[in-house]
């Protein structure tokens, strides 16, 4: 009985615990990311156990100030995103799942031409307020660090439709919640994440309650 009541670190248990986590890769990437791009990334998540799966809710903020891209453009993208989906955690720690994604973000920036005689020419590109709605599939693996903490490595594939103004002509470059994207009205991307989870006290199993 003692074993049944103790916090369990096994996966796929009959009475799984709520997991609260943060992406630990994003702050590291924000601090020591590539010199040409300045990122500000933060993400938190909660996993709520259902009957055989977890309800996964992810929220985050992402911002990027790019250095020169597309030959003469500097972009600033920032916004917030929410992902809601379902995950299945196997006995061996294998994680499979999907998320629906909504991302609201703003893109601004400048284009410039070097002016050695008359001075640099710099002009703002039209601001864009965009909404991305998409879907992502995730595949990961999580490992117990202690009875309370789990570490999860995740890979994801995301696709999303972009809604909003396109007057500037500059295609989507960075979408919060998705990252660097390819495509135009329909974008797609791949990404990785490392999440540290805190496992709330597992509920006692039905067997242990009756004991």
């Amino acid at each position: 009985m003692g074993l049944l009541l103790a916090p369990s670190v096994s996966f796929g248990q009959k009475s799984p615990s709520v997991l609260i986590g943060v992406d630990v890769l994003k702050p590291v990437f924000s601090a020591v990311g590539p010199a040409h791009n300045a990122y500000r990334l933060a993400e938190a998540t909660v996993k709520i156990p259902l009957s055989t799966t977890y309800l996964s809710i992810v929220g985050g903020y992402a911002g990027l100030r790019s250095d020169t891209i597309f030959r003469n453009i500097r972009l600033h993208d920032e916004g917030y995103y929410l992902k809601v989906g379902v995950e299945r955690i196997g006995d061996g720690g294998l994680v499979l799942g999907w998320h629906g994604l909504v991302s609201s973000y703003r893109q601004s920036g400048t284009y410039f031409f070097k002016g050695t005689t008359f001075g640099d020419y710099e002009s703002p590109i039209p601001d864009l307020s965009n909404l991305a709605i998409g879907l992502e599939g995730i595949l990961g693996h999580q490992t117990a660090l202690s009875p309370r903490f789990l570490l999860r490595f995740t890979g994801r594939v995301t696709t999303a439709a972009i809604f909003g103004t396109k007057d500037g002509g500059v295609p989507p470059y960075f979408v919060p919640g998705i990252g660097h994207v390819a495509g135009n009205s329909l974008v797609y991307s791949v990404g990785v994440g490392i999440h540290l989870f805190y496992q709330l006290h597992p509920r006692p199993t039905a067997t242990s309650l009756h004991d």
Binding site: F70, R71, I73, Y111, G115, F118
Partner: protein
């Protein structure tokens, strides 16, 4: 199987060749090709640009007296719809102004914004001493276009 492979190879080669011929235009100040047609032999004493933050690039002009003509390659001001230059020939000072309409348009991810210069609605150029013989505006043109690639520039001929 072999013809299909050959066709694929040719299509790849053609698309690569066309892609490599794309001319994105200047990423810095384009040039005014200024031609000074002389009626009397002259020598350039001074030349500089008004509104400039830095001196003009060194010009490949003769320091001795020239009899027929002088050709200069001068940067154009992207921060205004005109560029002004002052030069002194045989002690005579002249101010030349060339006008243009700037166009910055996003083309694609490889080129970003592309600059083109067009003829303005008003007069294209003026000079305080001589007369304007001709002005022509040349826009970006890709290498795949008949005639080869072309950079944005303006050609101005003055008779002094």
């Amino acid at each position: 199987m072999r013809p299909v492979f050959t066709l694929l190879l040719m299509a790849f080669g053609l698309s690569f060749a066309l892609m490599s011929c794309e001319n994105c235009g200047p990423s810095r100040e384009p040039f005014l090709n200024l031609s000074l047609q002389l009626t009397t032999p002259a020598k350039i004493d001074t030349i500089y640009a008004l509104d400039a933050r830095n001196p003009l690039p060194k010009q490949p002009v003769s320091t001795s007296i020239v009899t027929s003509g002088i050709w200069l390659e001068l940067p154009l001001n992207l921060n205004a719809n005109q560029s002004r230059y002052v030069f002194q020939l045989n002690g005579r000072r002249d101010t030349v102004t060339v006008f243009y309409r700037r166009s910055f348009a996003f083309r694609n991810q490889r080129c970003g914004y592309v600059l083109d210069l067009f003829e303005p609605d008003g007069i294209p150029a003026k000079t305080t001493q001589g007369t304007v013989s001709s002005v022509s505006y040349w826009q970006n043109r890709n290498g795949s276009f008949p005639g080869g690639p072309q950079e944005t520039h303006i050609e101005l001929a003055l008779r002094l």
